[in-house]
């Protein structure tokens, strides 16, 4: 009987000892906020387009960090953003289903614009300027190409145009050698293989 008691007591005391240490550690290493979500958000293209199914980049980042969303839902970010998020999250990369199109910008056909300000209200980054009853104009430097302004326009005067390529921004493509092609192929195979 005493043997059983000492055993239990020893075990209990031992357990308690570690419990106390862990409780203190828990206090010391308490974490505020979600640093991972912030890290993910800094990777996102901030178009605020909502194509991921979340009402903006920040909510999506939070959802990815908490594991509610997949890493491949950011369409404008494309493969590169997906790979960066997957890398950060330590998960296998997945293919981005919707192919990201060439960068677009909105353009208001000014002679058709009725100055209703609906597009101004819809723009998530304040890239459209204009007063009521006056033509509205898109600031090309600010437009993220999210297309959120196209839908609200009552007279359908907003076009999405391909963003013009600048000579200064031109860069060499991957060399079109066989080996470089192989590298791209492998990447594709890898992505499809793991998804």
């Amino acid at each position: 009987m005493t043997y059983l008691l000492t055993t239990t007591a020893a075990f209990g005391a031992f357990t308690l000892f570690f419990a106390v240490i862990l409780a203190i550690a828990g206090r010391v290493f308490k974490i505020e906020g979600n640093p991972i979500a912030d890290n993910i958000e800094s990777l996102l293209p901030q178009t605020q387009c909502g194509q991921c199914g979340f009402p903006g980049c920040k909510p999506y980042a939070g959802a990815v960090a908490s594991g509610e969303a997949e890493v491949n839902q950011c369409v404008p970010g494309g493969e590169r953003t997906m790979l960066q998020i997957a890398d950060l999250m330590g998960v296998e990369p997945k293919t981005v289903e919707d192919e990201a199109t060439a960068p677009m910008i909105a353009f208001v056909r000014e002679d058709e614009c009725i100055g209703c300000t609906l597009c101004i209200k819809a723009c998530p980054v304040d890239a459209i300027v204009g007063a009521p009853k006056q033509y509205h104009t898109v600031i090309t430097e600010h437009c993220t190409g999210c297309t959120l302004c196209v839908e609200p326009c009552p007279v359908d005067c907003i076009d999405m145009l391909i963003k013009p390529e600048l000579l200064e921004h031109w860069s060499w493509p991957l060399p079109d050698t066989h080996r470089a092609q192989l590298a791209i192929e492998r990447k594709g195979q890898h992505a499809s293989h793991t998804s």
Binding site: G56, K163, P164, W172, R179
Partner: protein, 553 residues
């Protein structure tokens, strides 16, 4: 005498790390500089230098004189463009430039009238020693002088007398380490006097204590010519003792600014710093001659020496070509008319770029025009094989990178890793690709990586700005909502008080009206706010025509 000899031996033993000894093929070294004929039409892109593009200040139909400014610079890192002859502006539209993308730039087309009347608005400054360096700098900027070695960086920016960074040494780059090219070589032989006066002007401008003219030992006649001219000038020229001529062993890429500085001074330019931070500036001999013309003769930069060479050119030679001359016309004067199965290179074979066709103009950076047979190019662009990690690329790299690892990272899109392996320190000299036994186009991978990193940087900045705008908007909406709610509350309280006073139901529409009124009031400042905002970034015309729109405005 013995002293100088010893000194030059000491100098010549010093060298930079890496480097290669390619077949030099300087077949035009003995060909005197010929003068190009007038073409039917000059094409002048509005940007021929590194930096911001210019804005045309002439319009179609205008008559211009030789040397008249036709496009003015916008921004600091920019120099204007001048008319290469007298004639009429026939059109201003986009035209292909010597750029590997084959993309175009807005260009001014000038039809010569054959009279070559000079624009005399710029007076020669003969007494440059008594002139303030600031005035000389402004003159160089007005004359459109940019580095003629190939980098075309606006020269006036480099020639800044800065008391924090006093310039000790001026290095005159007559290395010309690129195979085939001989334009600097010929210039040194034929225009030695002008070059030396140019050096004197630069030394006066920056207050340099001494100048070194660096020439590789495969150009002994240029070396002799410079030395002789210095001796001749020494009678009239008290300062000529401060200029010395230095012979260096032939090695590629010795002509690269940073490598040349290391060879001559033993110092390395710290990363992210400029040569002036270690008291050195470096100028090409061609630039020196152009500076002489701008100051002493008051002539803007409208022509340059071009080496026309390559195994597909029947009569290779060196030629004084006015800027804007179509390359097809230049080649035609050297007997090359058809371009089937011929590769055209703009610049030398190591750092020059392949041109898609010959219908591009000669610009300020055109130091050479090469036409090569397809067969001789094949050797360089054989199919890429796997890297066997022989490390030869690292051995020849003049900046001590590890090219094969960098290329792997670029190929596999590990751009951040490539950046941490100092991708941006690469000078793209091509020595690694030259020695690679697997024929890997390493430089191409680096350029790809650099381009992608720049793109990523732009996108990140854009994302950051978008995020801020989006947050501002959210803040504003929240604030407006709150203000609206606050106002409504005030109104409701008033209304309740009013209703308490007279218990009629007429208050309700009244309340609505005031609320409407308030919201309209509140909207006003916002819209004005936005219109103010509108003025600043100046909304663009239709994006599809954005670039051409710039021209007409």
């Amino acid at each position: 005498m013995l002293h100088t000899l010893l000194k030059s031996i000491q100098k010549s033993t010093r060298t930079f790390s890496g480097g290669i000894d390619p077949e030099m093929s300087k077949i035009t070294a003995a060909a005197a500089i010929a003068t190009s004929m007038q073409p039917q039409l000059y094409i002048l892109p509005i940007k021929q230098h590194i930096g911001e593009a210019c804005e045309p200040i002439v319009s179609v139909g205008d008559h211009v004189k030789w040397g008249q400014k036709i496009a003015r610079s916008q921004g600091y890192v920019s120099v204007p463009v001048h008319s290469p002859t007298s004639g009429k502006v026939v059109k201003i539209e986009e035209h292909a430039t010597p750029h590997p993308s084959g993309m175009g730039l807005p260009s001014i087309f000038i039809e010569p009238d054959g009279k070559d009347t000079r624009d005399k608005s710029l007076k020669p400054i003969k007494a440059y020693r008594d002139t303030d360096p600031t005035e000389l700098r402004e003159r160089l900027r007005l004359c459109g002088i940019a580095g003629l070695g190939g980098a075309v960086f606006p020269t006036f920016i480099k020639l800044l007398k800065d008391n924090r960074n006093p310039i000790e040494t001026l290095i005159l780059n007559g290395i010309e380490c690129e195979p085939y090219l001989t334009n600097d070589h010929r210039l040194m032989i034929e225009k030695a006097k002008e070059i030396i006066i140019g050096i004197d002007i630069i030394m006066h401008m920056v207050g340099a204590k001494k100048a070194i003219i660096a020439i590789e030992d495969n150009k002994p006649n240029a070396l002799e010519m410079m030395q002789e001219t210095l001796e001749i000038l020494s009678e009239s020229f008290p300062d000529s003792t401060r200029i010395e001529v230095c012979q260096l062993p032939t090695r590629y890429p010795q002509g690269s600014e940073k490598q040349l500085i290391e060879v001559l001074t033993g110092k390395q330019v710290p990363a992210g710093k400029l040569p002036m931070h270690i008291g050195v500036i470096c100028q090409n001999v061609g630039t020196s001659k152009a500076i002489h013309d701008a100051i002493i003769k008051g002539r803007p930069l409208t022509e340059r020496i071009v080496t026309v060479s390559g195994d597909a050119v029947p009569r290779p030679g060196n030629m004084r070509v006015r800027l804007g001359t179509p390359m097809r016309f230049v080649f035609a004067q050297h007997g090359l008319e058809t371009f089937d199965h011929v590769h055209l290179l703009h610049g030398g074979p190591m750092m020059g770029e392949k041109l898609k066709n010959a219908d591009v103009p000669v610009v300020k950076s055109t130091n050479g025009l090469l036409a090569m047979h397809s067969t001789s190019m094949k050797e360089a662009h054989k199919s890429e094989q796997p890297c066997i990690r022989c490390g030869h690329c690292g051995v020849v790299c003049p900046v001590s990178l590890v090219p094969n690892l960098l290329a792997d990272q670029c190929r596999n899109k590990q751009f951040e890793k490539a950046e941490s392996y100092d991708l941006f320190d690469c000078i793209e000299c091509g020595a690694c690709s030259y020695v690679c036994p697997s024929n890997i186009p390493l430089v191409h991978y680096f350029r790809y990586g650099k381009g992608q990193l720049a793109q990523i940087g732009r996108e990140q900045n854009f994302a950051h700005a978008s995020k801020q705008r989006s947050e501002h908007r959210d803040d504003r909406i929240a604030r407006e909502k709150e203000e609206k709610a606050a106002k409504r509350r005030v109104v409701r309280e008033k209304h309740v008080a009013k209703a308490d006073d007279d218990k009629t139901s007429a208050g309700k529409p009244d309340h609505d009206k005031t609320a409407d009124h308030k919201t309209a009031d509140e909207k006003k400042p916002k819209t004005t706010d936005k219109t103010i905002q509108k003025d600043k970034p100046s909304p663009k015309s239709p994006p599809g025509k954005a670039s051409s729109g710039k021209v007409s405005s």
